[in-house]
């Protein structure tokens, strides 16, 4: 089984639009995983039926039983996250600050602190318009543990692919380089880095690539909106050459990305022009290298 992950470092470079187009080109022969669980958007293009829904529990939250509490304050003293404070002479846990380490519960001499399982969001298994299956999720508001939810989405996608004899998973990754990104790229066979010729695009591409390199994952790059600044596009191309990253393609700035999204479609379904040709070529190039 092969996994292709689409990431970018910087947000808004076209990750989801491209991942959705690749998924459409592949039709039934792929399982799709939207791992941007913080701000999942891919479902807006794929018409999922939300066939299966499950709560996702991850991590814990300290809870103080006021009847048992003797107000010694030890819990507040040892909490490194300042999550426990006195309100109206009661020790109260702030759920947004509590990291769920469980230290307070362990040292409470009156056994007044318990740990609640935390509902960190929900995940879905859907049939989508391409006839394929998609795993997607929604992180609970303000929830921690987005990396764990990403891992869950990927695990489900892998199992479904295995069960249905499908050899390919396309993963739409989150922006950034922190825990959800690390979770998204772990175990991937190939990373598609989508960038744009802006100094922030280049800056974030370099950081994203450093991460990918750290995890020994092969990478290729698509320069989207490449005619926005041809000089920066050249600088990116030089960087790709120097680092031996596969230069997949340059896609010119095209309002069609926004337009097709407005109609709930991937670029590739919405129109048939030079851009669709270039996206098809990009996908073939990625598949060849696998």
């Amino acid at each position: 089984m092969k996994e292709i992950v689409v990431i970018s470092g910087k947000g808004g470079t076209g990750k989801t639009s491209l991942a959705a187009s690749f998924a459409c080109l592949e039709g039934r022969d792929v399982v799709v995983a939207d791992c941007d669980v913080d701000a999942a958007d891919m479902h807006l293009l794929m018409q999922p039926d939300f066939n299966k829904r499950e709560d996702f529990y991850s991590g814990e939250l300290a809870k103080i039983n006021q009847d048992e509490c003797i107000r010694c304050g030890n819990c507040a003293d040892i909490c490194r996250f300042n999550a426990i404070s006195i309100i109206d002479s009661e020790y109260i846990v702030d759920p947004l600050d509590c990291e769920g380490c469980g230290y307070c519960a362990r040292i409470c001499t009156s056994h007044a602190i318990g740990n609640e399982k935390l509902n960190a969001g929900e995940w879905f298994l859907s049939s989508i318009k391409t006839g394929s299956l998609m795993v997607h999720a929604r992180l609970g508001i303000g929830a921690d543990n987005s990396g764990k939810l990403v891992a869950k989405v990927k695990k489900e996608a892998r199992e479904i692919a295995k069960r249905n004899g499908i050899g390919l998973i396309i993963i739409d990754g989150p922006p950034g380089i922190g825990c959800p990104v690390i979770s998204s790229i772990t175990g991937a066979n190939f990373a598609v880095l989508v960038t744009e010729p802006t100094i922030s695009g280049l800056h974030d591409l370099k950081r994203a690539y450093e991460l990918v390199k750290k995890f020994n994952i092969r990478a290729g790059c698509i320069i989207n909106k490449s005619d926005l600044n041809t000089r920066t596009t050249e600088i990116i191309e030089d960087f790709l050459k120097a680092e031996d990253i596969l230069h997949i393609s340059n896609l010119p700035y095209d309002e069609i990305f926004t337009e097709s999204m407005t109609y709930g479609q991937a670029v590739i379904e919405y129109t048939n022009n030079d851009m669709t040709g270039m996206i098809k070529d990009s996908w073939h190039k990625i598949k060849q290298i696998l």
């Binding site: 947000g11 990104v181 802006t198 926005l228």
Partner: protein, 286 residues
């Protein structure tokens, strides 16, 4: 007065707005701009200023001492994050997974674990005229950005008085880094674009801000593309629409070169003035 610039979706224009707004304000009065998108800090690419200070930022992780260890396995047992495992008589620590709660070290009966500082990133403080700019940068491979964000917030609180306008360029999304970045804000400006992705993620961001009990308003960027759904939504929900920045290829080109926009495009300066008015009115009513 702390103003966080946030958005659910990435790439909607948070950094463009933060850097332009801060520079615009700095023409008249003191302002502090802080880049809290520590995973991908970009504001610095647009701000020309002199470096005043750098500080290495650390997180505390346990270090194992073989001599004292009695291999009781307690540390492994108390770690809720699976950051410590025991292999035979050896203890292995996974620093990336460690949240720095100290439980393993302080509950070790034989004092075989000591908390030591380990570098996770760097804070840099720049200045140009009335503009102070602070940026923090997470080292690559580090998983948890929230601690660095909170240490950066602490730096700002220790170094600048409360009545200066402070602008925080926040990370994208709705999870822990955003919560940490907007936790202390007096007001949150949500930047979005008039597309289905923009609207969908705006709704998520609004839910988050409501849960946090934050005051918020919307700045619509790239107005002219997509459709009217974001405008209609703001109207229906009575959400203040603070400003609308037009879609203009020239803005994208200036941005691509790392240049500020408002000096070149008067319409943008007009919208920044609107935002500043809004901030000042909001400040007075507090």
């Amino acid at each position: 007065m702390k103003i966080a610039i946030a958005s659910g979706k990435g790439g909607t224009g948070k950094t463009t707005l933060s850097t332009n707004l801060a520079s615009y304000i700095a023409e008249e009065q003191m302002v502090v701009l802080t880049d809290l998108d520590v995973e991908e800090p970009n504001s610095g690419l647009f701000i020309k200023a002199r470096l005043l200070k750098r500080e290495t930022k650390y997180k505390m992780i346990p270090e194992w001492s073989e001599e004292n260890c009695k291999s009781c396995g307690n540390c492994h047992e108390v770690c809720n994050f699976h950051a410590i495992i025991q292999l035979g008589s050896s203890i292995l620590v996974f620093p990336q997974l460690c949240h720095g709660c100290y439980a393993c070290a302080e509950l070790c009966p034989s004092s075989a674990l000591e908390m030591v500082a380990r570098k996770m990133g760097e804070l840099r403080h720049f200045q140009n005229g009335k503009l102070n700019f602070i940026e923090s940068r997470l080292d690559i491979g580090q998983e948890q950005s929230t601690l660095l964000i909170s240490q950066t917030n602490q730096y700002i609180n220790e170094h600048f008085p409360g009545d200066i306008i402070k602008i925080y360029d926040s990370p994208p999304g709705t999870s822990c880094p955003v919560i940490e970045a907007t936790k202390d804000a007096d007001y949150v400006i949500l930047v979005t674009e008039p597309t289905p992705f923009g609207l969908h993620d705006l709704k998520l961001a609004i839910d988050t801000m409501k849960k946090l009990g934050r005051d918020f308003g919307v700045v619509l960027n790239r107005q002219g593309i997509g459709n009217n759904d974001v405008l209609d939504f703001c109207q229906q929900e009575n959400i203040p629409l603070i400003a609308e920045i037009p879609d203009d290829r020239r803005i994208a080109e200036l941005y691509s070169r790392g240049e500020l926009v408002y000096q070149e495009i008067p319409e943008v300066a007009l919208q920044l003035e609107k935002i500043l008015d809004f901030i000042m009115n909001n400040k007075d009513s507090r």
